[in-house]
């Protein structure tokens, strides 16, 4: 565990002039279930996207297992928020899972039989192989979430970044997802998940990142997840910091 799974240094992200993340320093250990927790608008999803290079950063850098993300891309799997796509899209569950293999399939090639078999095996791991050929709009919210998880499994990554995998799912799916995450961890993988339900953080996760535009605290649940840290995350406004960020970024965008 010498090299952290994720190391974030002095990361600042802004959408246009609106600051979202400020000066985040973070080192996350390998082989843990890690929750990112914070109020709405705290920049949780943005942190994941910044790690994945999906949003432009103002300052700072990110390393995955000691290397820049571009070199470690194949080690990282991503589960976006379920609401981020149009589920009425004309495609099947199996087809969506196969998308997790597109990076491996390569240009100008179609998914071959063994790719589809891999995808089907991933659907089976989330208990969805019966519904493989169903159009995705005909799946329940929990089933759609499982399809996204299966797609990430197909990526066969060492590090998984998940944006609210438990959001809007039924109790059965929640248990199934948790079992899956634990299996991933027990096989040595690292899972970082944005999580909304404070009540289950300590039960589900090993490690927590408390975020509210800046890093409030990060560490093992036992030492980090306490009332004081939660108060600092959820209570009180960061007015001075917010204003300073805004002023700075406005100058920058005028340049």
């Amino acid at each position: 565990m010498n090299v952290p799974a994720i190391e974030v240094h002095d990361l600042t992200v802004a959408y246009r002039t609106q600051p979202v993340l400020w000066d985040v320093d973070l080192a996350l250990p390998e082989g843990k279930l890690i929750a990112i927790v914070g109020p709405n608008g705290a920049g949780k999803s943005t942190l994941l996207k910044a790690i994945l290079g999906l949003v432009p950063t103002v300052t700072g850098w990110v390393q995955i297992f000691g290397e820049p993300y571009e070199r470690r891309r194949s080690w990282v799997g991503y589960v976006p928020q379920r609401e981020s796509v149009d589920w009425d899209f004309p495609t099947s569950a199996l087809d969506v899972v196969t998308m997790g293999l597109y990076g491996r399939i390569g240009w100008l090639r179609r998914p071959a039989k063994h790719h589809r078999e891999t995808a089907l095996a991933c659907l089976e791991k989330v208990g969805m192989h019966d519904l493989a050929h169903r159009q995705i709009s005909q799946l329940s919210g929990g089933q759609q979430q499982r399809v996204f998880l299966a797609r990430a499994l197909a990526q066969d990554a060492r590090l998984y970044l998940m944006d609210e995998p438990f959001a809007g799912v039924d109790a059965t799916t929640e248990r199934a997802i948790l079992t899956l995450l634990k299996e991933l961890r027990d096989s040595g993988r690292t899972v970082v998940a944005v999580h909304h339900d404070l009540q289950t953080v300590a039960e589900y996760f090993d490690h927590v990142v408390l975020l509210n535009m800046r890093l409030v605290a990060a560490g093992p649940i036992a030492t980090t997840f306490n009332a004081d840290a939660l108060q600092r995350t959820y209570g009180g406004k960061l007015t001075v910091l917010t204003q300073a960020t805004e002023a700075l970024l406005q100058n920058r965008s005028v340049e």
Partner: protein, 429 residues
């Protein structure tokens, strides 16, 4: 029908355009960029005019090139506006569309006032004039079309990912922005190919209408692309044949009318997504609810009197729900046919089977009432109306689960007994 040389050119051109428009239009539709094609078409107009002014000819290649350049410039302006300003995509499309079209109209008017200008025939680009297609035009269209199709085939899975989940594609390391520019570029090419046939104003219909129709019939992207291309080609062929057989009918608008008719039929009739089928399903549900209500009414009256043998008369039943005798007779007919009730003149009696069937409806109703009053702590006089709706919606599995969670209650909040689960296992609906 014997086709003239011109009519044959029109037929080939319109069919080709229909197939291309249908293919690229599918991606535009799924990416919710239906109006992008419209903007690109309008943006191409000044390009055509400038190309004419520079070269002084109306041979297809320079005009195509001009349209292509202006369309590309328009599309890049839209992408750049969205990326670098606070203006949203729909506004950016509207702005680019109107500004370029305005410039195009000014140039067009200027050209027509030139000595040689009124012979330029450039106004055909406004509404299209397929009859002016010559073999050279068709050759350019065929080559461009082949290039477009080759790209779509080559990058099919990447385009699919772009349309479905762009960010995930980026996280895989695929150059999604470049793919987006490429797809937009292909759209521009198709628009330019179609300008002479259907014109700036109507080209968006050639893109979107076949795609929207095809979407109704299939849940597979590959099938949707093929079907959309097929509908587009068929509409192009049919439209050009109709306009050839009836003099003075303009080809472009007729093509649009044909494909719109296909769309309307698809919206109404397509299985699962069609409006007619949805209505039909709604009606079937409504009728089932009526039937179940009648069953339940008969059961409740029997239960109250502890008498299952006396048939209940029409006036008696009509009073319960304010129904007319005709409505009642209509609801009773399927019950009698299914052997759930017996009709005895103007009176109705539950059979043994009917009583069992009715018990299940009543069971759902009463268990839901227990659930509401115990778990949600609603007073017992509040729960009846809600249960009236739920008794028709709850599945057997859900009721059984509820019943277990509630510890197999024996009576509902009003004190009426809850019937047992059907022994034979499951309803027959």
């Amino acid at each position: 029908m014997e086709l003239t040389f011109t009519a044959r050119n029109v037929l080939i051109g319109a069919t080709l355009l229909g197939a291309l428009g249908g293919t690229l239009g599918s991606f535009a539709l799924l990416r919710r960029q239906s109006l992008l094609g419209d903007a690109l078409a309008h943006a191409a107009l000044p390009g055509v005019c400038i190309a004419y002014l520079i070269t002084g000819t109306k041979s297809p290649l320079p005009l195509f090139a001009g349209a292509l350049a202006a369309g590309l410039l328009g599309s890049l302006l839209i992408l750049a506006t969205v990326r670098w300003s606070r203006i949203k995509e729909d506004s950016a499309i509207g702005i680019v569309l109107s500004v370029f079209f305005g410039i195009g109209i000014v140039l067009l008017t200027y050209i027509q006032k030139l000595p040689a200008g009124n012979q330029s025939g450039l106004d055909k680009f406004l509404f299209g004039q397929a009859a002016t297609l010559v073999v050279a035009d068709l050759q350019v269209m065929a080559v461009l079309g082949a290039i477009v199709i080759a790209f779509v085939v080559a990058f099919y899975k990447e385009f699919k990912l772009l349309a479905f989940d762009r960010e995930f594609g980026s996280s895989l390391g695929l150059p999604m922005r470049k793919l987006e520019v490429l797809l937009t570029l292909l759209l521009v090419v198709v628009v330019v190919v179609g300008l002479q046939t259907v014109g700036v104003v109507l080209i968006v219909a050639a893109l979107i209408t076949p795609a929207a129709a095809a979407r109704q019939w299939t849940d597979r992207l590959g099938a949707m692309l093929l079907l959309s291309a097929g509908i587009g080609a068929a509409a192009g062929a049919a439209g050009s044949l109709v306009s050839a057989s009836m003099a003075k009918l303009p080809t472009g608008p007729v093509i649009v009318l044909v494909s719109s008719s296909v769309l309307i039929v698809s919206l109404l009739l397509a299985p699962r997504r069609g409006i007619l089928w949805a209505r039909l399903r709604e009606r079937q549900v409504a009728e089932r609810i009526q039937r179940e209500n009648l069953l339940k009414d008969l059961y409740l009256l029997g239960e109250r009197r502890a008498d299952w043998d006396t048939a209940l008369t029409w006036p008696h039943l009509m009073g319960l729900r304010g129904q007319t005798g005709r409505e009642l007779a209509r609801n009773a007919r399927p019950l009698v046919a299914a052997g759930l009730a017996e009709r005895d003149g103007d009176a109705l009696r539950l059979t043994e089977d009917g009583r069992k069937e009715a018990e299940q409806v009543v069971r759902k109703h009463r268990i839901w009432e227990v659930y509401l009053s115990r778990r949600l702590e609603l007073p017992s006089d509040h729960v009846h109306r809600d249960a009236e709706a739920m008794e028709h919606a709850l599945t057997e599995a859900a009721v059984t689960e509820l019943e277990e969670a509630l510890g197999f209650p024996a009576v509902d909040p009003h004190g009426s007994p809850i019937p047992a689960r059907r022994a034979s296992g499951g309803g027959n609906r």
